[in-house]
């Protein structure tokens, strides 16, 4: 009786091993390739130039210093009308797996499920919902706004308020019209379910700074 039980268990084991082996062999590149969907650009809006745009973040490390990192792939569009801020908009998509912290090993850790889960959530998006001229003036030739928008990260969407500055409009290198925005806002990463190491050497608050340059479509 004991032997027959063992044989039964062994048969299951053998079949399962064969199954696992076939799964492992046919696994290819592992997970399905993530898709990041670029937002559409409205008529007359500026299309973000990824080469001249930047996304930088900072987070406190060991409660003593600020660490800065960046994302290297950004897409989107924006529209600024100084006379009528209600017509303004900005929509940006950042590729999560483009995170760059100046350490290949740390980048892999940041892309893992401990932080951004880049395969599961290939993009981070921000879309403005309201614009209001800020009380204090920006630098010469610049206009500051308080912009409310929806930030989606790790499958959660939260409302955030950003200080957005229209930094200028002019002629680009190829003769077309170009414009620029700068945005800064702070979030709590735990609000988006990114709880790993919060309070254990890595800050909860993350400040995000975005510089956008776009060409008129």
């Amino acid at each position: 009786m004991k032997i027959s039980k063992h044989v039964w268990a062994g048969a299951i084991g053998a079949v399962a091993t064969l199954g696992l082996v076939s799964v492992a062999v046919s696994d290819g590149a592992g997970a399905p390739a993530p898709r990041a969907v670029a937002p559409a650009v409205a008529d007359g809006a500026f299309k973000v130039d990824p080469v001249h745009s930047s996304v930088v973040y900072r987070v406190k490390h060991m409660d003593v210093s600020y660490f800065y990192g960046r994302f290297n792939k950004i897409e989107g569009s924006f529209q600024v009308d100084a006379s009528d801020p209600s017509r303004n908009s900005v929509e940006v998509t950042i590729a999560t797996d483009s995170i760059d912290s100046n350490s290949a090993g740390r980048d892999r850790h940041l892309k893992s499920q401990d932080f951004f889960s880049a395969t599961e959530f290939p993009s981070i998006t921000f879309k403005s919902t309201s614009w209001k001229k800020a009380g204090e003036a920006g630098a010469a030739g610049e206009t500051a706004y308080d912009v409310v928008g929806e930030l989606s990260l790790l499958g959660k969407t939260r409302e955030v308020t950003a200080r957005v500055t229209h930094t200028g409009t002019g002629k680009g290198m190829r003769g077309g019209e170009v414009g620029g925005l700068e945005a800064k806002f702070t979030i709590k990463r735990s609000d988006f379910g990114m709880n790993y190491m919060v309070g254990k050497g890595l800050g909860d608050e993350v400040t995000v700074m975005v510089g956008l340059e776009g060409g008129r479509e």
């Binding site: 004991k2 032997i3 039980k5 063992h6 268990a9 062994g10 299951i12 084991g13 079949v15 399962a16 091993t17 199954g19 696992l20 082996v21 799964v23 492992a24 062999v25 046919s26 696994d27 290819g28 590149a29 592992g30 997970a31 399905p32 993530p34 898709r35 060991m62 100046n102 350490s103 290949a104 090993g105 740390r106 892999r108 850790h109 892309k111 893992s112 499920q113 401990d114 889960s117 880049a118 395969t119 599961e120 959530f121 290939p122 790790l154 499958g155 959660k156 735990s190 379910g193 709880n195 790993y196 190491m197 919060v198 254990k200 050497g201 890595l202």
Partner: protein, 339 residues
């Protein structure tokens, strides 16, 4: 090592270990040391306690590490407390002496498939069911059936520490491979929680050798560990080749343990038999982990940082690769270590 990381590791290991030790010691003192001679409610209570303690250990430690479980999970790891709850219920039913086999297996599979669905949910939303997802789900079920078959077989035939050590090796092996292959310390820690609770149980079993593992405890550990392993495989940032390699290691360990257990036959219950089964599993796991470690693409040390923690693997990789080259695991190892 980063003090925050040490605190995190301690939180993931000490509370569940203490919980296992204290609760199993109390159960043993309260219910008595009788095993099969226990009858009725006392037997049911003691058998059901194992998956319940494992479940409480998992959910409680998850809370300590990542905050309170959320009511509306969005990311796959946030589903793990829910999966643990399902696995705990399935484990309790599997512990009931009169539960029909179809109910036991059915609930275990239901908990497993809940974990599988929760793991691929976001990928389904992105691109529908793909071949890769079908493969991952199949791997989840096959791996669980293999683990349940091997671990149930050993735990039914043996009392005392051997089945518990085998389960600890299973969880710890998955945990270590997740850290090496998926770059996720959190997933590694989550897989290690059950190992920590089981170490507490192991200490009690050394004090009272008659303790039994029970089908419910095995069911809980297999369901939660397989789901965590699948998430690491699906979303991990390691190289595809390495992920493929580590998919073999734990199943091979289980098969080796089962073969050793079967080959021993009547001698399986002896003390020497227990050592042989455990040593076989440990040897296969150690070789596998050394091989996986050797194949990992360790990151180069940062040219400007004297003590780059993310290049830490490099400090250990040369000896690991040398061992791997001796046993012929790592291709091109001599070139890589400059020998």
């Amino acid at each position: 090592m980063d003090p925050g990381m040490i605190k995190n590791l301690a939180l993931g290991a000490i509370p569940p270990g203490v919980l296992g030790l204290v609760v199993f010691a109390l159960i043993w003192m309260r219910v008595g040391r009788g095993g099969q001679e226990l009858a009725g409610r006392a037997l049911v209570w003691r058998q059901a306690a194992t998956p319940l303690v494992l479940m409480a250990g998992f959910i409680g430690t998850y809370w300590l590490l990542f905050g309170a479980p959320v009511l509306r999970p969005t990311r796959s790891t946030q589903w793990l407390p829910v999966v643990a709850l399902g696995a705990g219920i399935a484990g309790v039913v599997a512990s009931l002496p009169r539960a029909p086999g179809v109910v036991r297996w059915g609930l275990v599979m239901a908990a497993l498939l809940l974990g599988g669905w929760a793991s691929v949910k976001n990928m389904l939303a992105q691109g529908g069911m793909t071949v890769a997802l079908v493969e991952h789900l199949s791997g989840l079920v096959f791996g669980a059936v293999l683990a349940l078959g091997a671990l149930w077989s050993v735990s039914r035939a043996r009392r005392g520490w051997a089945p518990i050590v085998l389960l600890v090796l299973y969880c710890a092996g998955v945990s270590q491979l997740l850290v090496i292959g998926s770059y996720s310390l959190a997933l590694g820690q989550l897989a290690g929680i059950s190992a920590a609770v089981l170490v507490g149980m192991l200490l009690v079993s050394l004090w009272r050798p008659g303790i039994t593992m029970g089908a419910g405890g095995v069911a809980f550990v297999v369901v939660i560990t397989q789901v965590i392993a699948m998430q690491g495989h699906l979303y991990g940032q390691g190289e595809a080749e390495l992920k493929r390699a580590y998919a073999y290691i734990v199943p091979l360990m289980l098969v080796a343990a089962w073969i050793a257990h079967s080959a021993l036959g009547e001698r399986a219950g002896s003390r020497r038999g227990a050592w042989i089964v455990v040593a076989t599993a440990a040897a296969v796991l150690a070789i596998g982990i050394a091989g996986a470690g050797a194949k990992r693409d360790y990151d180069e040390k940062h040219p400007l940082i004297e003590d780059d923690p993310y290049a830490g693997g490099a400090r250990f990789s040369v000896p690991i690769r040398q061992v791997a080259s001796v046993i012929g695991i790592h291709r091109g190892v001599s070139h890589e270590i400059g020998a």
